[in-house]
């Protein structure tokens, strides 16, 4: 008998080789994750229990006894509660109108109503300052019409924060509930109607209860994203000295005169993290245990509700939303960027591109920021994709033990608020790294590491989904056709996950390009990013230049979305 031993060993070893190199790379990534996720988390917790370099509970005792801590906690809660309520109500209404009624121009609404989701919230906030600030366009028009000196409404403060947050968060509720609403098995509702319930009664007794898990889940998601948001309360809250937890942590970190300022900020952060984890658990519970199998799998044919003469009310409602979230903000930014100087009447003579010229030629940090942001976003997205390929391969294909730990390490930096991640990075890397004695603090590398940690989950999610879609039998078919392990990976798996790789790259690149929260705490002179420079110009009161740069950022964002849509063949982006 011939056994072909030598050949077997050769082939077999190619597979074993590959597997072991994946394990090896996985090991390195695991160590990296420990360094950039676990170690900073640990440092954060430790610091929250440290005062004057000693183990103590003083930071927490300070929180309880301190009036400020209570006020910012209350503010955060009020803002997020009403914000989540409002955004969810609007988002669910839109989803229902588009999925279940005969409202006209559906295609247009579908795209237009999601645009606020891609506008960076702090830019939306700045736009609303241009509209409803003390000298905002709307207020000025109001004063002109009513011939008074009283503005209609100055947006600064709590209500303004809630207002802007709702405008830029409702797409989450809309996107989360649209799927279940349009894919719900129509027989469930038809059964209600045949039992004698009218259309409205069916909506109340059948549709809404069945939708509660997704509605509740999206409300919690929005609640948490509002708790974590930094840009909007910074832009809208600071002028009126109105603070929430994220902005209070920011101020505490920058308050170098205060003893133990970082440690106190750490304790405040722990409170925020605690809330985030509770909300996440709650959301998991609602969407897991409380959800019913209502989806029939296929996109179902629902009988559309005839809106008849109420059609106009619905169209006006959606139209106002587009006006408030897209048209007015973008126009206000464009107008401000084109005005030679603030306060001038909006006539052709006063329009010029001088602000654009100035940001490009006169402010060197703008050029640096554009370069840095593209480098940082591109570099971290690329690193994320390489890491995700290996992490997802370990999780999905090799099904290693300890998957849960790996997934938790990947998710943690995205699940906790950005301001907390930034603080943890500072605490972990403010001293030179042990052994190698290199300090990355105040360099571009600490921002890169923070971006990678924060957006890694996008890459892993995208590529894990891709690996899961490649049915095992597709690879089996290649093997039995004569392809060895490497050939089957190259010929079958890679081409099939290619579009997800691009998608994952853009999913990580886009938020990194306009990132504000992490960058605000981690940037240093020479290492500015787009977000920090827009915010900086705004704080310096350079209105025209801020608007010009904000407009440039918006153009980037829109272009990115179009590219994302192209490379993912319409699966992502809009």
């Amino acid at each position: 008998m011939t056994t072909l031993k030598s050949k077997r060993n050769f082939r077999d070893s190619s597979q074993t080789y590959f597997k072991w190199s994946v394990y090896g790379a996985g090991g390195i990534i695991f160590v990296l994750l420990i360094l950039v996720v676990l170690y900073p988390s640990f440092t954060l917790v430790k610091n929250s229990f440290t005062a004057d370099d000693q183990l103590s509970l003083n930071n927490y005792i300070g929180l309880i006894s301190n009036q400020t801590a209570f006020i910012v906690f209350r503010n955060s809660f009020i803002v997020s509660f009403w914000g989540a309520l409002g955004a969810t109500a609007i988002g669910v209404s839109i989803a229902w109108l588009l999925a279940r009624t005969d409202i006209p121009y559906k295609k247009f609404w579908r795209v237009a109503l999601i645009i606020p989701y891609i506008i960076p919230p702090f830019i939306g906030a700045i736009a609303w300052v241009y509209l409803l600030g003390p000298v905002g366009y709307i207020n000025k028009i109001w004063m002109a019409i009513t011939e008074t000196i009283n503005p209609l409404w100055v947006i600064y403060g709590q209500n303004g924060v809630i207002f802007v947050m709702i405008l830029y968060s409702y797409p989450i509720a809309y996107m989360v509930t649209l799927g279940p609403l349009s894919q719900m098995n129509p027989a469930l509702e038809e059964a209600g109607q045949i039992s004698g319930a009218g259309k409205l009664r069916t909506l109340r007794d059948i549709t809404l209860p069945l939708m509660l898990p997704s509605i509740g889940g999206s409300a919690l998601l929005i609640f948490m994203s509002m708790m974590a948001n930094f840009g909007i309360p910074a832009v809208i809250g600071f002028p009126k000295r109105y603070f929430v937890m994220s902005t209070q942590i920011f101020l505490t970190i920058l308050n170098f005169d205060r003893a133990n300022n970082l440690q106190i900020a750490a304790a405040l952060s722990m409170l925020l993290v605690f809330l985030a984890l509770i909300t996440m658990q709650l959301q998991k519970w609602i969407q897991g245990e409380k959800s019913y199998a209502i989806i029939s799998g296929k996109s179902s044919q629902h009988q559309l509700v005839q809106l008849r003469n109420k059609k106009y009310i619905a169209v006006v409602f959606l139209g106002l939303l587009v006006l408030f979230t897209v048209v007015l903000p973008v126009l206000s930014i464009l107008a401000t960027s084109l005005l030679r100087a603030l306060g001038l009447p909006f006539i052709l003579e006063n329009l010029s591109f001088v602000n654009f010229e100035r940001i490009i030629y006169e402010v060197p940090k703008v050029q640096r920021a554009i370069k840095n942001s593209f480098l940082l976003a591109g570099g971290s997205a690329t690193a994320i994709i390489f890491m995700s390929l290996i992490i997802s391969y370990l999780i999905v294909k090799l099904k290693i033990k300890g998957t849960a730990i790996l997934e938790a390490l990947v998710l943690l930096p995205y699940a906790v608020p950005g301001i907390v991640v930034a603080l943890a990075m500072i605490l972990a890397f403010v001293k030179p790294l042990p052994l190698v004695n290199i300090s990355i603090y105040n360099t571009i590398w600490i921002i890169a590491i923070a971006y990678i940690a924060r957006f890694l989950t996008f890459g892993v999610r995208s590529i894990s989904a891709a690996f899961e879609q490649v049915h095992e039998s597709l690879e089996d078919a290649a093997r039995i056709s004569g392809a060895d392990f490497v050939a089957s990976f190259k010929d079958i798996v890679m081409p099939l996950i290619k579009s997800n790789i691009f998608a994952g790259w853009f999913l990580a690149f886009s938020p990194a390009l306009t990132e504000l929260t992490l960058s605000m705490l981690l940037f240093s002179v020479g290492n500015e990013t787009l977000g920090t420079v827009v915010y900086g110009l705004h704080q310096e009161g350079k209105v025209g230049m801020t608007a010009a740069l904000a407009f440039v950022v918006l153009v980037f964002v829109v272009l990115l979305n179009i590219i994302t849509r192209k490379v993912t063949q319409g699966k992502l982006g809009f």
Binding site: T3, R11, H471, S473, D476, A477, A478, I480, D484, L496
Partner: protein, 358 residues
């Protein structure tokens, strides 16, 4: 020319034995089918033959070449086994058109472009897909995709063709015509086939021999006729076709006939069933009778035993009936030309009984 030998094949997953002690020699050009309920180990066995699963024990040999042997520490990966395989999910690669899918196995052998083109077009016309070269899987029906998968498996003229429930995703009509096509191809090209299915009609109509499996163990290896008419145990009799199982009360031999008596419970009436056999049976015997082997005659018929019709279901070509005999219920097929009603008395005659020792 390929004779496939499985010797003492075993597969354990952790502590559970998925397949145990499978030994069979598949003759060159034979069509053999692993048949059994889901979880019986048939697919595991097929995947061991293909090389996707490493056996825990035993060996797999084609002609004189050892593909896998735990004793000799040999295990060839799938790409070294010269086999073709058709998967239940088709596994046609969605990013390649028909031509590329079918030509893929040739990539790993040295062929000129012209040879590749010739072979692809020859194989495609074999599975009646001429002109489909440029089509992508999403532009084809399930049946067409399955033909692409078949062509891809056949293009290398494999020593053994493995088919893993290839028809179960097709609709009933298509399934039947594909059955005939696969058999025709196999008769023409004379390759050896190992087929896996849970569908007894597929197994019966296509195979030279059937291997009935249950709980990882081979129950019977035999021709379709024998598996049906001479099941080796109750599982096989029950799994294949419909059968009545009647425990016997009395067995005795009269020359070359064994006579089995079945009492009705009251002790007055009994069914007497003669079975031609040389084998001697002990006390515990079960009689297996197929519903179509029970004749139903008018109550005034001389032969037979009286029973009562208690249920009848019209199924088109016949009536599926249940007849009560004492405390025994028998499933019986009755031609629907005869008009009988529930509660009617009938005479029953049992033919072709199978005796199983329990």
């Amino acid at each position: 020319m390929a004779e496939l030998k499985l010797v003492n094949l075993q597969k354990k997953f952790g502590n559970t034995i998925a397949v145990d002690n499978v030994t069979v020699t598949v003759k060159d050009g034979e069509f053999i089918t692993f048949l059994g309920p889901s979880g019986c180990g048939k697919t595991t066995t097929l995947r061991m033959i293909a090389g996707f699963i490493k056996p825990t024990k035993g060996s797999i040999i084609i002609d004189d070449k050892v593909l896998s042997s735990n004793e000799e520490r040999v295990f060839l990966p799938p790409d070294q086994r010269d086999m073709g395989m058709v998967f239940q999910t088709y596994a046609v690669w969605p990013h390649m058109n028909t031509y590329k899918n079918v030509a893929y196995p040739l990539k790993f052998k040295k062929y000129s472009k012209k040879e590749i083109e010739e072979r692809v077009s020859k194989t495609l016309s074999m599975v009646k897909l001429d002109g489909f070269e440029e089509r992508f899987p999403h532009q084809m029906s399930g049946g067409q995709q399955q033909r692409v998968a078949l062509a891809r498996a056949l293009i290398m003229e494999p020593s053994v063709l493995l088919l893993d429930e290839p028809l179960s995703n097709l609709d009933a009509k298509l399934r039947e015509s594909m059955r005939h096509e696969i058999v025709e191809l196999q008769r023409k090209l004379k390759f050896t086939v190992v087929y896996v299915t849970h569908d007894q009609i597929e197994a019966m109509s296509m195979s030279d021999r059937i291997i009935v499996m249950e709980k990882g163990i081979v129950q019977q290896i035999d021709s379709p006729q024998n598996v049906y008419q001479k099941p080796s145990n109750e599982f096989v009799a029950d799994f294949i076709g419909m059968a009545n199982f009647i425990p016997c009360d009395f067995v005795h031999r009269e020359g070359n006939i064994v006579r089995v008596l079945i009492m009705d419970g009251s002790g007055k009436n009994f069914l007497s069933v003669p079975v031609m056999t040389d084998k001697d049976y002990g006390k515990n015997v079960t009689v297996v009778i197929r519903p179509e082997d029970i004749d139903v005659l008018p109550p005034d018929n001389k032969e037979g035993t009286l029973g009562t019709l208690i249920r009848q279901t019209y199924v088109g070509d016949r009536n599926d009936c249940v007849v009560q005999f004492g405390d025994i219920l028998l499933r019986v097929n009755i031609q629907n030309k005869t008009s009988i009603n529930i509660g009617d008395q009938l005479k029953l005659v049992l033919n072709n009984p199978i005796l199983l020792e329990t």
